[in-house]
C-alpha cells in the first residue's frame, strides 16, 4: 500500500468513566475511501473529533503524510488538510453560499476576495459535479444542498482528507447517488475519505476498506467490503448475529385511524391536498415518498400539531374535534417525532422529564398540579430496564444519550400507554442495525397486540419489510396504495416520481 495520508496511532479518549476510544489505530491512503463502522456509542464520532481537533486524546499520536502533528483545534486540522462534515451542519443561515465559503478565509489586504472565491467555487463544481448557486442564502437550501456546501467548504480550504459523519442519514435515497458520485470523483483525484454510516449496503457499495469499532476498540477490519456480506459486518460490529425479525401474518381488524379528505395550509413545506387514508388495528401502513411531498404535514396533522383546513380525522371510532397534541393523545394516539433532539426530547433536563413530558398532567405523574417525583422516577427506571436504555440513570441529562438510546426512550414513553394507533417518522434514522432491529421488533409486537401503526419513511427496504400496505405520497396527495405483497422497490420508486397512479 502507498504511504498513508493520515495515520492515527494508539488513540485513547475517555469521558469520565466511559472509554470512548481505546488504543485505536487507523490509516487512510490517498485516493482511499475508508468506512468507519460500529454500533451507536462505539466511538466513531469521538475518534473523528479527535482527528479534527475538537478533543485532545488522552494518549496516541496523529501523523499526516508520515509526520507527527499536534492538532489542537479545527483550525489546526484544516491547516493539516483535514476537513470534516459533521452530522449537524455548521453554516450561517442568513449568509449566502459564497459568503459561507469565505468565512474565516483571509482576503486581500483585509477585503473579502469574492471574485477569487467564485472562481474556486466554479472549479470545484466542474471537478466533482458539486454545483451550487453562490448567491442563494443558506436558509433557502435543502438539507442535501447544505451538505454539499459543507463538502465544498472543506475542499475550498484545501482538504486532502474528508471526514463525513453519517452523511447519508439526512439524504433521500436519490440524493445518496449524487453524493457517492462526487465522493468517488474526489477519491479518484487522490483525496482520502473517511465515511461513517450505519447502512451496510452503502458501505459495501462505496468503501475500499473498513475499520469496525466496538466499545471504543478496533473490533475488526474489512479489506474487501464489496465482497463481504452485511451479516458478517454486522457480526463484527455487535459481536453476534443479527437475525431479521420474523413477520407473522395478521388479520387486520376495524380501522383505528381514518383521515377523510384532509387538506392543510399555512405550514412550512408541501401542504396536504385531499388526503384520505385508513389504518386498521393490527396493521402497519407504510408511507413512502421523496421527502418534501407532504410527509411532514401528514405527520403534524395526525399528531395534533397542525389543524387541517378541511377534512376530518377519526381515532378509534371517535372524530377528532379539536386538533392538539393532548386531545389526539387522549383518544389513544401514540407519537414518535422525526427529530428526536429538537422535537422529542429536552436535552438539558433529566431523561426522566422527557419520558413523562406528554403525560405530565395525567394522574400517572401528578395530582392537583403537584408532581409525583417518585412516580416519575419509577416510571423512567422501569422503562430504562424494559427497553435496555443504556444510561447512568433516569436523572442523567437526556442529551448525553446516544441516538439509539434516545429513540428507545421515545418509544418507551409512548408504548407504555398502549396506544391504539402509533404514528412514527423515520423511526431508525441514525440507528445501528442492532438498535433498528429492536425498534422493528417492537413495532411488530405492537401490531400483534392490535395496534395500528403508520410508519413514514424514506428507507424503502425498511418499509417493505414492516408494512402490510404502502401508500406513496406525491405533491401532497396519496399517489397510490400497494398491498405489501405487490410492492417492490422499483414499483414504489416509479410511483414516487408521480409516474404511476393508483394500482
Amino acid at each position: 500500500m502507498s504511504a498513508s495520508l493520515i495515520e492515527m496511532r494508539g488513540i485513547t479518549k475517555s469521558f469520565g468513566a466511559v472509554k470512548a476510544n481505546e488504543a485505536v489505530d487507523l490509516s487512510v491512503a490517498p485516493g482511499e475511501i475508508l468506512g468507519l463502522l460500529g454500533e451507536n456509542g462505539a466511538g466513531k464520532t469521538t475518534l473523528m473529533n479527535v482527528l479534527f481537533g475538537a478533543y485532545a486524546p488522552d494518549a496516541g499520536q496523529i501523523l499526516v503524510e508520515g509526520r507527527p502533528v499536534g492538532i489542537h483545534s479545527s483550525a489546526d486540522a484544516l491547516a493539516a488538510g483535514i476537513g470534516m462534515v459533521h452530522q449537524h451542519f455548521h453554516l450561517a443561515p442568513r449568509l449566502t453560499v459564497l459568503e459561507n465559503l469565505l468565512i474565516g478565509i483571509p482576503g486581500k489586504s483585509g477585503r473579502i476576495d469574492r471574485a477569487g472565491g467564485l472562481a474556486r467555487l466554479k472549479e470545484i463544481g466542474r471537478q466533482h459535479g458539486l454545483s451550487l448557486d453562490p448567491a442563494l442564502p443558506v436558509s433557502a437550501l435543502s438539507v442535501g444542498e447544505q451538505q454539499r456546501l459543507e463538502i465544498i467548504k472543506a475542499l475550498f480550504r484545501g482538504a486532502k482528507l474528508l471526514i463525513l459523519d453519517e452523511p447519508t442519514a439526512v439524504l433521500a435515497p436519490s440524493e445518496v447517488d449524487g453524493l457517492f458520485a462526487a465522493l468517488r470523483s474526489m477519491a479518484g483525484q487522490g483525496l482520502g475519505i473517511i465515511f461513517i454510516s450505519h447502512k451496510l449496503n452503502e458501505v459495501r457499495a462505496l468503501t475500499h476498506r473498513c475499520v469496525v469499532l466496538r466499545h471504543g476498540k478496533v473490533a475488526g477490519r474489512v479489506d474487501d467490503p464489496a465482497n463481504t456480506t452485511s451479516s458478517e459486518m454486522a457480526r463484527l460490529m455487535c459481536g453476534h448475529e443479527i437475525v431479521p425479525p420474523t413477520k407473522v401474518a395478521s388479520t387486520p381488524g376495524g380501522s383505528v385511524l381514518l383521515l377523510d379528505r384532509i387538506s392543510t395550509s399555512g405550514h412550512a413545506g408541501t401542504p396536504l391536498r385531499e388526503v384520505s387514508l385508513f389504518v386498521r388495528s393490527g396493521e402497519i401502513l407504510g408511507i413512502a415518498g421523496v421527502s418534501g411531498n407532504g410527509q411532514r404535514a401528514l405527520a403534524d396533522v395526525i399528531s395534533g400539531m397542525l389543524p387541517p383546513k378541511t377534512g376530518t380525522m377519526t381515532i378509534a371510532g371517535k372524530a377528532v374535534a379539536q386538533f392538539s397534541p393532548r386531545s389526539v393523545q387522549a383518544l389513544g394516539l401514540g407519537r414518535i417525532p422525526e427529530d428526536r433532539m429538537t422535537t422529542g426530547l429536552v436535552t438539558n433536563l433529566p431523561l426522566a422529564d422527557s419520558m413523562v413530558l406528554p403525560r405530565i398532567g395525567t394522574e400517572a405523574f401528578s395530582r392537583k398540579g403537584l408532581l409525583n417525583p417518585s412516580a416519575i422516577r419509577a416510571f423512567a427506571e422501569t422503562q430504562i430496564k424494559a427497553y435496555d436504555i443504556r444510561c447512568p440513570g433516569p436523572m442523567v441529562r437526556a442529551g448525553a444519550l446516544s441516538g439509539g438510546n434516545l429513540q428507545k426512550a421515545l418509544l418507551a414513553r409512548e408504548l407504555a400507554f398502549d396506544p391504539k394507533v402509533l404514528i412514527v417518522s423515520q423511526p431508525t434514522r441514525g440507528l445501528d442495525i442492532g438498535a433498528a432491529r429492536f425498534i422493528h421488533e417492537k413495532f411488530l409486537a405492537m401490531r400483534a397486540k392490535g395496534c395500528g401503526i403508520v410508519v413514514i419513511g424514506e428507507d424503502l427496504e425498511e418499509l417493505l419489510m414492516l408494512s402490510d400496505r404502502i401508500a406513496v405520497m406525491y405533491e401532497g396527495r396519496i399517489a397510490g396504495t400497494l398491498a405489501g405483497a405487490e410492492a417492490t422497490v422499483a414499483r414504489l420508486g416509479l410511483m414516487m416520481t408521480g409516474a404511476e397512479g393508483r394500482a
Binding site: G16, A56, T347, N348, L349, P358
Partner: protein, 349 residues
C-alpha cells in the same frame, strides 16, 4: 498558549463554588478602584463588612435591603427559567408600590389593609409584566426591549402622579400621601427597621422553589424554557405558560414594591427603588436561576450596598463603588459560567 476546551462533565462542587469565585473576583478587581480613590483596601472592605454584618443592627439593615432584591431576584429567576426575558422588574416594583400605597391610604383595619396592599401590589406588578408577555405571544415583539422600555414609562407615570394630582398636600416635596399608620407593617425587632415583609420575602424563596421543582406549572416552565418545540409537541400550551410565568414574575416584583411602601417608606417617592429591579437580574444570575440561591445572592448585594455607604463615609471612597461591585460580580459570574461548559487547557505551540 492556552485554549478553551469543551468540558465533558462539570464537577458538582464547581457549580457551588462558582458564585463564590465570581464574588471573590469582583472584590479583588474593585480593590484596585479603592486604591485609586486613595483608601486602604483592607480598611475599606473592613468598614464594609462591619457596617453590613458587624452587629445585630447592621444585620437587620442588610436584611431590610435584601428583602426587595430577594423578591425581584425571584421574579427574574422564574421568568428566565421560561426564557421570558423580563428586564422590567423595576417597573413592576414601582407599579406594585403605587398600587399598595393607594390601598394603604384608605382607612380600614390594619391586617385587612396589609393583605389588600399585598394583593393590589402583586396584581399591579403582574398587570405590567403582562404587557411584554402579550406583545411577545401575540405579535412576536422582543420581550427584552419592551419590558425594559416599560420601566421608563412607569417611572415617569409615577413622577407625574406624585408631582401632580397625587402630591402630598402637607409636604413641599414630590411625594405621595403616606399610608395609614395601621397599615404600616409590624416591626419585628424593637429599635430596628426589620419588618414583616422581610420574613415574607424569605418565605417566598422556598415557595417559589417548590413551585418550580414540584408542580406541573413549574415543570411546564422548565420544559418551555429549555425547548419550546419539544414542549409544544408534548402537549404544553407554550403561550399560556409564558403568560402564566409573566404574571407570576410580575407579581413577585410587585410584592417587592409593597414591602418598600408598607415596611420602609410608608409612601411613594421618586427614589423609592435604587434600582432593586435591575439588581434582581444580578441576583438571579448569581443564583444561577435557582430560587433558593436567590436568598444568599440578595444578601450579598444588600451587604455591599449597606457597607458601601458606611465605607464612603469613613474613607471617602464614593458610594458608587457598590454599583461597580454589583456590575463586576455579574460580569465575573457570566465569565465563570463559561467555565461550567469549558475548561482552559494549556497546549504546546
Amino acid at each position: 498558549m492556552f485554549r478553551l476546551e469543551a468540558r465533558t462533565s462539570t464537577p458538582a462542587w464547581f457549580n457551588l463554588a462558582l458564585p463564590l469565585l465570581a464574588i471573590g473576583a469582583a472584590l479583588v478587581l474593585c480593590s484596585g478602584l479603592i486604591a485609586v480613590a486613595g483608601a486602604g483596601v483592607i480598611e475599606a472592605y473592613g468598614v464594609m463588612l462591619s457596617a453590613s454584618l458587624g452587629d445585630s443592627y447592621a444585620i437587620t439593615e442588610t436584611l431590610v435591603r435584601a428583602a426587595p432584591m430577594i423578591l425581584t431576584g425571584l421574579a427574574v429567576a422564574v421568568a428566565f427559567r421560561a426564557k421570558f426575558w423580563n428586564i422590567g422588574a423595576e417597573g413592576q416594583l414601582l407599579a406594585g408600590a403605587v398600587a399598595s400605597c393607594f390601598v394603604g391610604a384608605i382607612p380600614m383595619p390594619g391586617t385587612l389593609a396589609m393583605l389588600l396592599m399585598a394583593l393590589a401590589g402583586a396584581a399591579a406588578g403582574a398587570a405590567v409584566a403582562l404587557v411584554p408577555a402579550t406583545l411577545r405571544v401575540k405579535f412576536k415583539v422582543d420581550d427584552v426591549v419592551s419590558s425594559l422600555l416599560l420601566n421608563s414609562v412607569i417611572y415617569y407615570a409615577l413622577m407625574a402622579l406624585i408631582e401632580g394630582p397625587w402630591k402630598d398636600s402637607f409636604s413641599g416635596y414630590p411625594i405621595s400621601p403616606p399610608i395609614e399608620d395601621s397599615a404600616n407593617f409590624p416591626v419585628l425587632v424593637e429599635g430596628t427597621r426589620l419588618h414583616l415583609g422581610v420574613v415574607a420575602a424569605l418565605i417566598a424563596a422556598p415557595l417559589v422553589w417548590f413551585l418550580i421543582a414540584r408542580t406541573t406549572l413549574g415543570f411546564r416552565i422548565r420544559v418551555t424554557g429549555e425547548n419550546p418545540e419539544a414542549a409544544r409537541y408534548g402537549g404544553i400550551n407554550v403561550q399560556r405558560v409564558l403568560i402564566s410565568t409573566a404574571l407570576l414574575s410580575g407579581a413577585l416584583a410587585g410584592l417587592a414594591g409593597v414591602g418598600e411602601v408598607g415596611g420602609v417608606h410608608f409612601q411613594v417617592m421618586s427614589d423609592i427603588s435604587p434600582g432593586y429591579g435591575y439588581s434582581g437580574i444580578v441576583v438571579a444570575m448569581l443564583a444561577r436561576l435557582n430560587p433558593l440561591g436567590v436568598v444568599p445572592a440578595a444578601l450579598f448585594l444588600a451587604a455591599v450596598m449597606t457597607g458601601a455607604e458606611a465605607m464612603s463615609r469613613a474613607t471617602g471612597v464614593p458610594a458608587f463603588l457598590s454599583d461597580v461591585i454589583q456590575g463586576t460580580a455579574l460580569l465575573a459570574m457570566l465569565v465563570a459560567l463559561l467555565f461550567t461548559a469549558y475548561r482552559i487547557r494549556r497546549v504546546a505551540t
